[in-house]
């Protein structure tokens, strides 16, 4: 028969206020198999823990029941107490009499009665608890970082500097992400390239980082510590080992393609590098723009290339990489504002979105840094419209956090580079970061006009053809403003990178309703996810500015390090196993398991479970008709016993 110790916690007054704890302890001592029952003010405190440890030794307890707060809170704490006292840590059961009893009732009678019933259930269950040993698996100490924006770069460098091997996967042909597109960064107006290109170069040179650009993740197998990630290397039609980046081929190429890097403002050659400081500085051929792929003749670049690096027959190749942890930093896109017909993006040439304006400012951009309209003229009046699609129930309810600040940056750059009058239509100026308010004041002093009213409509000016008119209400004066301008800049909502749904499916991440990846806990675990060993950093988790992104990248690198640092890892022991004598080979378990843990052993004619893949959800145990599968720690008899105990009083 088991020797059970019951320890009731007052949790100060939290429990004691609506549950008579001493009466509960006395009741516990009357239950069969309970040899010691005590109550104490703070069970989770050190004296509380010592009390349990001593009682375990003194009364030679083989089961412990702690009735206190939620198991999600202190189950780990009390498991360590048992472990230090020499008892298997799975022999403790936590009874939740705080969140689900004392805090949800005002009637002490009701609370005490319920606490007794729930405690009785735990006693029934405790009798059937068995010692479990956590499994130890070896951990591969490489890490994979998906997405090479500033977040991915930062995380890779931090990890590589600790000596870990990092696979950095980037979808585009160059790393750098959106930050590389900017000219300046707020609030310090540092040149974006000056602070980013050294890091990009460091990534290129670093011996521990394997850079895999123009690649996508196609398949993910395995589990924490032992991920097998298959990466598809999209065909570049250029052999980067031979090419030395002389870029002679890019001059001759007749092919014309829309430059994604310059947000479509200008065309670029079929064989191209996105921008001069691209890393790696090797061109790729855009299949849709290449004359050879379209019409079958040309191959000019092949003739020009001295190193015979062009290879039109190149195919997508797949490589599988073993890593211990994965950091997902896939970044963001701006919302397509074309559907918001009232702003006329795509209809009126004078309407730009934020990233296009970034390219206008950038010296490597289409206009070499000069701010000119699409017809080449310099704008006399510019209006920047905030919250286009953000903070809007009909599109995206979240605030994209950075648009106020980059709009201020735009105003400064417009004032610096042109003689135009600059207006900003805002609802609230959100300048909450370090140095942000000071930057906002500086911009006000630069005579930028702020109109407190969300831009309602952009229309062609009736009396000045070619100009635009921004209609809004200046809510401060209550007047309807019709502002004639030459250029309208929209600050669209930041949404997750296209393809992030696919990444979510591959890495088993859940997403919120706007598609941002869900962190395990918004406050306590913002960088880890529900899938063990998968971490997230940067805007893919939610909109944020560069300083926060870099901070998150370092955080994610640290969390990944905790896994890959040790070469062994202890896995949760509550997995499932098959009792071969009862298995009737119906293979239900094999069919239902989302992780493919159970497999059918043809020779023995029974199913078996690969405990490394098993996550302990217990689905197979309930699907098994002969109940041959034992879901450790939640076995059929334990659950049935607990139900019987709960229903007794």
């Amino acid at each position: 028969m088991s020797r059970i110790g019951v320890f009731v916690c007052h949790c100060g007054l939290n429990i004691a206020k609506t549950v008579r704890v001493s009466e509960l302890a006395k009741f516990a001592s009357t239950l069969p198999d309970v040899v010691v029952a005590k109550d104490y003010k703070f069970m989770c405190s050190t004296p509380g823990q010592e009390m349990i440890a001593n009682d375990i030794k003194k009364h030679k307890l083989d089961r412990v029941i702690v009735s206190a707060c939620s198991p999600l809170m202190h189950e780990q704490t009390f498991r360590k107490v048992l472990e230090n006292a020499g008892l298997n840590k799975y022999l403790v059961t936590i009874v939740n009499i705080r969140e689900q009893v004392s805090w949800v009732t005002h009637d002490i009678e009701e609370g005490t009665a319920k606490a007794k019933a729930v405690l009785n259930g735990a006693v029934y269950r405790a009798r059937l608890l068995g010692p479990l040993t956590s499994r130890v698996i070896d951990v591969n100490d490489d890490v994979m970082v998906v997405g090479a924006g500033i977040a991915g770069i930062q995380a890779s460098l931090e990890l590589a500097n600790t000596g870990k091997k990092v696979y950095l996967i980037e979808k585009n042909s160059t790393i750098g992400g959106h930050m590389a597109q900017f000219d300046k960064t707020f609030p310090t107006l540092d040149c974006s390239a000056c602070i980013l290109t050294p890091k990009m170069d460091a990534v290129m040179q670093h011996k521990n980082i394997t850079l895999m650009t123009y690649c996508e993740v196609s398949e993910v197998k395995g589990f924490v510590g032992n991920f097998d990630v298959t990466v598809r290397q999209k065909a570049r039609y250029i052999d980067h080992s031979k090419c030395n980046g002389c870029l002679a081929c890019t001059e001759k190429c007749p092919g014309k393609g829309v430059s994604e890097w310059d947000e479509g403002l200008v065309k670029r050659k079929a064989i191209h590098i996105p921008f001069p400081q691209a890393v790696p500085q090797r061109p790729i051929i855009d299949r849709d723009a290449c004359v050879f792929f379209k019409k079958g003749k040309c191959r000019l670049c092949e003739k020009v290339c001295e190193h015979k690096a062009i290879d039109f027959e190149q195919q997508d190749t797949f490589t599988t990489v073993k890593v211990g942890a994965v950091i997902v930093a896939t970044g963001y896109d701006l919302m397509d504002t074309q559907p918001l017909v009232q702003y006329g993006y795509g209809k009126y040439p004078g309407v730009y979105n934020a990233l296009e304006v970034e390219r206008l400012f950038n010296s490597t951009g289409p206009t070499g840094g000069k701010v000119t309209l699409r017809d080449g003229k310099e704008p006399q009046a510019i209006a920047i419209l905030h919250c286009i699609g953000s903070r809007d129930k009909n599109n995206y309810e979240h605030c994209s956090r950075v648009c106020c600040m980059y709009s201020l940056k735009f105003s400064h750059l417009f004032k610096e580079k042109t003689t135009a009058d600059v207006y900003q239509f805002y609802i609230d100026m959100r300048a909450a970061g370090k140095g942000y308010e000071e930057f906002y004041n500086r911009i006000i002093e630069e005579d930028v006009k702020f109109i407190r009213g969300k831009g309602a409509r952009v229309a062609e000016s009736a009396d000045e053809p070619g100009r635009l008119v921004v209609e809004a209400e200046d809510t401060i004066t209550g007047k309807f403003v019709k502002l004639p301008v030459d250029m309208v800049v929209l600050s669209p909502a930041m949404i997750p990178r296209s393809g992030s749904k696919e990444i979510a499916r591959l890495f088993n991440l859940s997403t919120d309703k706007n598609g941002f990846f869900m962190e395990r806990h918004p406050k306590l675990a913002p960088l880890s996810t529900m899938s063990e060993g998968i971490f997230i950093a940067g805007v893919c988790q939610s909109p944020k500015d560069i300083p926060d992104t870099v901070a998150q990248a370092n955080g994610a690198a640290a969390e990944a390090l905790t896994i890959v640092e040790k070469d062994k890892m202890e896995l949760e022991a509550t997995t499932a196993m098959v009792n071969p004598s009862s298995c009737c080979a119906c293979q239900n378990c094999v069919r239902v398991c989302p992780y493919g843990a159970p497999f059918f052993n043809e020779q023995k004619g029974v199913s078996e479970i690969n405990e490394a893949l098993c996550k302990g959800c217990g689905l197979c145990a309930s699907v098994c008709p002969a109940s041959a599968i034992i879901a450790r720690h939640f076995t059929n008899d334990q659950v049935l016993a607990e139900i019987e105990g709960l229903m007794e009083f």
């Binding site: 009232q342 903070r391 809007d392 009909n394 309602a456 409509r457 209609e471 809510t475 209550g478 309807f480």
Partner: protein, 398 residues
């Protein structure tokens, strides 16, 4: 008067009780006023109306009556505030205290006394039909709901006749309601007199139930939107243009007469477009009529500008220069069209007035899509419409 105010929240709570619950969600971003067609031309400011409502400040009266419930602001509001409900609630709370503007008193008086806004004799409601058209009985399939405007307003009687003819030509089993029905109550409700609206609605519902009505056709988008939103789920309501569009596509009726390049533009009535989501049916009808050179206005479909007739606007006096219908007529003429087609009796009335006040009624004609369609079916419109002249149903001022 002093510039200090103290919030009087009881008033705000009264507004919330009267259905303006969304008042609380507004964060005063100004999108609604930026979008509202009235802001540029009148001192009506929907955002201020909501602000006064939020804090229950007095002085709200000047802002209460400018809204024509065109739903432009509701579609754009980033907080999803149902501004029309807020306006209706505010009007209900304040009009209760007898604050109704002078021009609306007659309209509401006629509504409660005769069940129609036009001071028309209740018994003469079907006189427009001259007993040529069938009455609805229990086993008739479609109820052709005659909006008060098409019963009593001479111009819109033509629309009623045209609609009746089209239904006959389509060979549908239809009938019009007897005289003991009354207005669907849309304008009364938007003016804030919710109690009167309930009475009118109940009367109509009794008629519907006793006659086992389930399929309703109407020419007035106001009736369409009200039946769908306020009269409960169990009625299948269609606007006449939707029915005609279906008939054309099923080849049951096909327009024959060629209009020889007549330039026509189309105005989306707010209650047909934004309120009920019907944009394409009237356009497809116009495109199906041979010889019509169809041209779109700048502000069309979801962006269409209101004619000013909704929310009691039809009966309100508006100063010159503060009439949306005038601006809309100018916009229509800017397209070079000689015919402005629409599909709502309210819009037709407003536009007819505007063409007269701007005396451009020679350059641009106002037609309902149904009238154009009927003409294209080869019906001689003049003799059909001639008999409308001798009707007199305006009752003596009793």
């Amino acid at each position: 008067m002093s510039q200090t105010v103290t919030p009087y929240l009881e008033m705000s709570r009264a507004i919330v009780e009267a259905g303006g619950e969304a008042l609380k969600k507004c964060y005063q971003c100004g999108t609604c006023t930026g979008t509202c067609p009235w802001t540029p031309i009148t001192h009506f400011n929907i955002r201020k109306l909501v602000r006064f409502g939020q804090l229950g400040l007095d002085g709200i009266e000047d802002y209460m009556w400018g809204c024509s419930t065109c739903k432009f602001c509701v579609d754009r509001c980033p907080r999803g505030v149902e501004l029309i409900d807020v306006v209706t609630a505010i009007r209900n709370v304040y009009s209760g205290g007898g604050m109704l503007p002078q021009s609306l008193r007659a309209f509401v008086g006629s509504m409660s006394a005769r069940g129609n806004p036009w001071s028309g004799e209740q018994s003469k409601r079907n006189d427009w039909a001259k007993d040529k058209y069938p009455l609805y009985t229990q086993d008739t399939k479609y109820l052709f709901w005659t909006c008060c405007t098409v019963c009593y307003d001479p111009r819109n009687i033509k629309l009623a006749k045209a609609a009746a003819e089209v239904l006959n030509l389509a060979g549908l089993n239809w009938g019009m309601p007897s005289v003991d029905v009354n207005c669907c109550g849309e304008s009364v409700r938007k003016v804030g007199d919710l109690e009167l609206f309930e009475r009118l609605k109940q009367n109509n519902l009794n008629y519907f139930n006793t006659h086992k009505v389930d399929k309703i056709i109407t020419v007035s988008p106001h009736c369409l939107a009200t039946f769908k939103k306020e009269y409960g789920e169990n009625y299948d309501v269609l606007h006449l243009s939707q029915l005609i569009d279906k008939l054309i596509k099923e080849k049951k009726l096909s327009p024959k007469k060629n209009f020889g390049g007549l330039k026509v533009t189309y105005h989306d009535p707010c209650y047909l477009g934004r309120h009920s989501g019907v944009y394409d049916a009237p356009r497809d009808i116009l495109k199906a009529i041979p010889g019509i050179d169809f041209v779109e206005m700048g502000r069309n479909r979801e962006q269409s500008m209101c004619c000013g007739g909704g929310g009691g606007g039809l009966w309100m006096e508006k100063l010159k220069g503060e009439r949306l219908s005038d601006l809309r007529i100018e916009e229509a003429m800017a397209t070079g069209a000689t015919v402005l087609a629409t599909s709502c009796p309210y819009c037709i009335t407003m536009f007819e007035d505007s063409t007269r006040t701007l005396n451009v009624d020679e350059q641009i004609k106002i037609k309902d899509v149904t009238e154009l369609f009927l003409e294209s079916l080869g019906v001689n419109m003049e003799e059909l419409m001639a008999s409308a002249a001798d009707l007199n149903f305006t009752c003596k001022m009793d």
